[in-house]
Symmetry: C2
């Protein structure tokens, strides 16, 4: 199945010069959802205890994968959303600082975790999520994305840091 046929490229969103990869046609397709979940589940079957996913679009793919793998689901959230004791990690954006948070009891030491998000660009959010999981001594099995933008450099950074990276499709900027 060609996933890219179900991804719409929207120029100048959310700001001029950015070509946004819109996954809503893929989500609307029951065939698309099944394909993605099967591909990811085949890769991580028997290898993970929990799927950690990044708010908000990561939740969609991460929870389907957790269900398919019979694993638990761990939400990595924006600041102030998790009610229990949390740890947080700040990371830089082009303009300003972002932060993600994780409950301290979300994973136990040595639990095997895969991190899921929809898109890998700079990898800033993924690296912040990984830093939080490492602080809880999780065993990170890999990072999975639906879309990779390799020219932006996130994949290379994650791989240099020793993480296995898997993406279901990738785009170069001109596409």
């Amino acid at each position: 199945m060609n996933i890219k046929s179900l991804i719409r490229s929207v120029p100048d969103f959310p700001k001029p010069g950015i070509r946004f990869r819109d996954i809503t046609p893929l989500l609307a397709s029951s065939t698309g959802l099944r394909h993605i979940t099967r591909e990811l589940a085949n890769r991580y079957e028997g290898k993970v205890d929990k799927v950690a996913a990044i708010e908000a679009r990561g939740f969609i793919f991460g929870s389907m994968l957790a269900h398919a793998l019979n694993a638990g689901f761990v939400p990595i959230r924006k600041p102030g959303k998790l009610p229990g004791e949390t740890i947080g990690h700040n990371y830089s954006l082009e303009y300003g600082i972002n932060r993600v948070e994780l409950h301290v009891d979300a994973v136990a030491p040595d639990e095997r975790v895969v991190v899921v998000d929809d898109l890998l660009a700079t990898g800033g959010t993924a690296r912040a999520a990984l830093a939080l999981l490492e602080r809880l001594h999780a065993r990170v099995v890999g990072c999975a994305f639906v879309i990779d933008l390799p020219e932006v450099g996130g994949r290379a950074k994650l791989e240099r840091a020793g993480y296995e990276v898997h993406a279901l499709c990738s785009y170069v900027d001109a596409e």
Copy 2:
């Protein structure tokens, strides 16, 4: 299975006087995820074409249900997140106004849709989501929630408006 044994009550979150129902232990449990998805899928099997879920926690349950039903998934999002042509609906909160948005091509007329969110309190967000789906002439089959707070009145409002409401558990305030 007793879902409530996997829901943690957190007093005074996000502000004093609110008892927050924390679903993260339920999410962390593979048994809990399977139970919820099976319960919802049994109810809506063969009855829906698409599952529409409300950002962000609704995405978790909605996407698992869509996958289990072999249905499509429709995200109902906070303002400015959807890149295509959207419709929006404002609704009042205790202090201020909130808004949800939906792509105009997210559902076709007469498509059968169930709306999913984690929690039903005042029903304001759910009613805004339903208003958007009605504008696209979807056939709303029902609204499903993991948790209902019936004392807050959302369920009664949705039922008075003619919607079928299903919740997997409910809490009264003192619990």
